[in-house]
Symmetry: C2
Subunit: 252 residues, 2 copies
């Protein structure tokens, strides 16, 4: 979701709910796979299974785009691929810059999933002069000093931030000032941006923490179950108490 600031309150951007927009790429991926296998049509049930969602949800999602299905038959794969691509704006070319060419930035530059969807990595930018001129994924790294020029020369409107947290806000400000209006942020910071700029964030550590929460809960429930019927179903990993209120940093 976008950062708190701008906070478009889940505004349905053009009749299409935000939740639906977030699923369109999922459908597109599944459809592309079907297309490559030359499958001509697909039912909502099949496609939903392939995309990992409920079929009723899928049909409702598609209903926001229009009536593209045929009752009794299903959806024309090729046609739907085209319609969703168009809706997402993937029929045009999106030049993208990646700022911060560390491990993650380099991985992103090499990531094939971008190019296959109309996204073109127009430039790589890093603050380290030692990197300048060196090629990553066949693209030369340029210095941060030239950021504004690069954005303008290439007509870039989407920027990817893969810098350390400390540099992210500053980079963000410069990107926005230079004309970027959409930002994908990998740095673990909250970015504040002016109205009209969209920010989406990907935080690797946050995802793991959410998993840890559920993992802990599962271990807790299991321990509770074992307390009733103590059987050696589980491997011997040192199961911490479920809610054992371990005294640690308990301040005054």
């Amino acid at each position: 979701m976008a950062t708190g600031r701008t906070h478009r309150p889940a505004t349905r951007s053009r009749g299409i709910p935000e939740a639906t927009v977030a699923r369109l790429p999922l459908y597109l991926r599944a459809l592309t796979a079907l297309s490559e296998r030359s499958v001509p049509t697909v039912s909502s049930e099949e496609l939903a299974a392939a995309a990992g969602v409920n079929s009723a949800k899928l049909r409702k999602d598609f209903s926001y785009l229009g009536s593209y299905g045929t009752r009794g038959v299903g959806y024309d794969v090729e046609y739907l691929v085209y319609q969703i691509s168009r809706e997402l704006g993937l029929t045009q070319d999106w030049p993208v810059v990646i700022v911060g060419i560390g491990n993650l930035g380099a991985a992103l530059a090499n990531y094939g999933g971008f190019a296959s969807r109309g996204f073109r990595v127009a430039a790589l930018i890093d603050a380290d002069p030692g990197l300048t001129g060196r090629a990553v994924a066949g693209i030369p790294v340029q210095h941060t000093d030239d950021l504004e020029r690069i954005i303008q020369d290439n007509g870039v409107s989407i920027g990817v931030i893969a810098t350390p947290a400390g540099a992210a806000q500053q980079v963000c400000d410069r990107l926005v000032a230079a004309g970027v209006t959409s930002i994908l942020n990998f740095a673990p910071t909250v970015l504040s941006v002016p109205e009209g700029v969209d920010v989406r964030k990907v935080d690797l550590s946050i995802e793991l923490q959410i998993l840890a929460f559920h993992e802990q809960r599962k271990a807790g429930e299991e321990a509770a179950a074992e307390a009733v019927a103590p059987a050696a179903t589980r491997k011997d990993s040192a199961d911490q108490g479920p809610d054992g209120d371990v005294p640690a940093v308990m301040p005054a």
Copy 2:
């Protein structure tokens, strides 16, 4: 969100809503920053701003954990850090394996954000024999053949999949069979897992596609506005038609 399959329907895991759980790491990050600056207490208003959320939402989130604040004063930073850490299960050690040591896998192995939160990269696994034995981020890469043994020897319950899409489901099945119950999936595929296994996915390409959608919409609105009052407010980037129905792959 977890994959469609298991589909715990936003079950509030222990009274704590899923949406709240997803924000706890955000609060924790902001609090940690305050803690490092030795700030003793913080109000819901300040903390909310730092975390990029609404202050009412933050207070409600905390109310699910208990009454940890003091009216008229705010929250004790250190105490809250501890409570949230405990709630998320970060007071214990979580050994993690990363499967698929390509560009992304290597970047994840090098990512500092894991270690700082109780996550320990216990092993790196790849199917390429050429990588076996080579060290990435100081950790030797092991071969997929030993996956089951590695999981069991280290008591791993969280796995990270960074393989190509084609290998993901197979790796997932083996991880689950070996005892892993939480998976973070970076491969662009829908994973199906048995009941009781949590899956979270991060898809870089999907995030960009969502941004592209909003970007296109912005360009469209702007073009519409210019049609009424045509002024040269904008840079000259080749603005594609807003909804120009570009004929491309229009099948029968």
